[in-house]
Each structure stands twice: as structure tokens, then as C-alpha cells.
């Protein structure tokens, strides 16, 4: 699934389209960046309610190229700049982390481990 298809499932807004060729197969939902850093994250969408510059840094380090911000959290200009530099797609959604996760799961995305 590409970023456009992901966005349709969660009725979000794409703020920035980073790496358009990426096909996402997995999703990981967490507000704890320490946990994000523990797993293999290639082809994985990060869904989070945490909205800080360190979410972008965590994505950059873990090779994550798409982040969905839940619960109507607004991305700041410094976050946007860092995402641009590292070609990371940013999506904002008013839905809760739970509902976004549910829709993505139903849409066919897998967890990072079982």
C-alpha cells in the first residue's frame, strides 16, 4: 500500500509526500519512541500521538519513511523541515490511535511482529 492509499483509509491529510515509491506492508503504533527503536522498521508506517521533533529523529534513525499523527496533533514547522530533509511522508489525522490502527489492520497492514 502506498501513502495515498493509507491516507484514504484513515481520512487524513498528507502534509508532505516524502518517498513516494515506498510500499508499506506493516504498521507500528506507539507514543514511546524507545519502543520504536527496538524493532526493524523498513516498509513500516509509524502511527503516533506524540508530536515532537524526536519522532522525526526516531523515524530517520529507524529507516521509517511515513508517520501518521493521530488525535488531531499538529506538526510544527521544524518537524516539517526535518521530514523534508529526510524524505519522510507526514500525515495528520483527527482519528484516535485505536481507530487508525484498526483501519490500517483491516486494510491489510501487518504488525511488526507476531
Amino acid at each position: 500500500m502506498n501513502a495515498q492509499q493509507l491516507n484514504q483509509l484513515i481520512q487524513g491529510t498528507i502534509l508532505l509526500e516524502g518517498n513516494v515509491s515506498t510500499r508499506y506492508t506493516k504498521a507500528f503504533a506507539s507514543d514511546l519512541m524507545s519502543d520504536v527503536l527496538r524493532f526493524q522498521m523498513e516498509q513500516t508506517v509509524l502511527v503516533t500521538g506524540l508530536c515532537t521533533i524526536q519522532v522525526l529523529r526516531t523515524a530517520e534513525m529507524s529507516n521509517i519513511t511515513c508517520i501518521i499523527f493521530a488525535r488531531g496533533k499538529r506538526v510544527t514547522p521544524d518537524m516539517l523541515a526535518l521530514a523534508e530533509e529526510h524524505h519522510i511522508t507526514l500525515i495528520e489525522s483527527a482519528l484516535t490511535l485505536f481507530e487508525i490502527s484498526g483501519r490500517l489492520y483491516q486494510g491489510g497492514l501487518e504488525p511488526v511482529y507476531r
Binding site: 514511546l32 524507545s34 520504536v36 523498513e42 529523529r57 530517520e60 534513525m61
Partner: protein, 136 residues
Amino acid sequence: MKFCYEIKGGDFSAGGSASSQVKKTLKQFNIAPQVLRRIAVALYEAEMNVVAHAWRGSMCVDINIDHLNVVIEDEGPGIEDIERAMEEGFSTATEEVRQMGFGAGMGLPNIRKNSDEMKLTSTPGIGTRLALTIRF
């Protein structure tokens, strides 16, 4: 090839910029993406430890043909009990650090997981030194 970066304690907005620079440099070499991620994650966790706990520090990276040596040193409160600090879930992080999505006591165990060799030494009241080796 050797270079060093300064790390400022308490500066959460700049936290990660040293690790970012190293990742950018290493991208020029023919290193597998998974290895690059292991390196970046280990360095970022170590850098965030300095930002979260110390007053100031440095990250020195030595790139060799088949491995990377990194030394992260800081001036800070140090670690009283290293064995305990290495336990998953143990943390002395402040509320501010936790609000940034860190301080869950996963950092040091994750650094150990992502590196091939890890040596952590500390003098309470003086500072901490972390030496890592990661093979390509």
C-alpha cells in the same frame, strides 16, 4: 577516518543531530541498510542519554574497513549502579524526558542489542564513557 561531534545536555531539539551526521556520512559507504539502522539506533540512544542526563558530551566516530568504533563521553552525574542501569525498564529519567517519548529504561539494553561490543564505564559526579564497536 575519525571525527567528533559535541552534544549539549538538555537540548532536546538538537538531540540526534550528531547521530544524524554520522548516518549521513556512513550512507556514502557501501553498508547494508539494516547495519546502518543498527548503527544509527545505537548512536541515537547513546546521544539521547547524554542529552537527557548529562551537562555536555561528545561523540567520536572512527570508521574502519569492516567496523566502526564509537566513543560517547560525557560530563554529568554518572551512573551509580551500571548493572542496574543495564536492566530493561530501569530509568532515572525526568518527566520532561518521558514526555519526549524516552526514559522507559530501554536505551542501554537496546544499545547492547545493536552493537557487537559495548563497554560502559562511569564515575559518579564526574561522567560516563560508552565505547561501542559495530561490524559492517
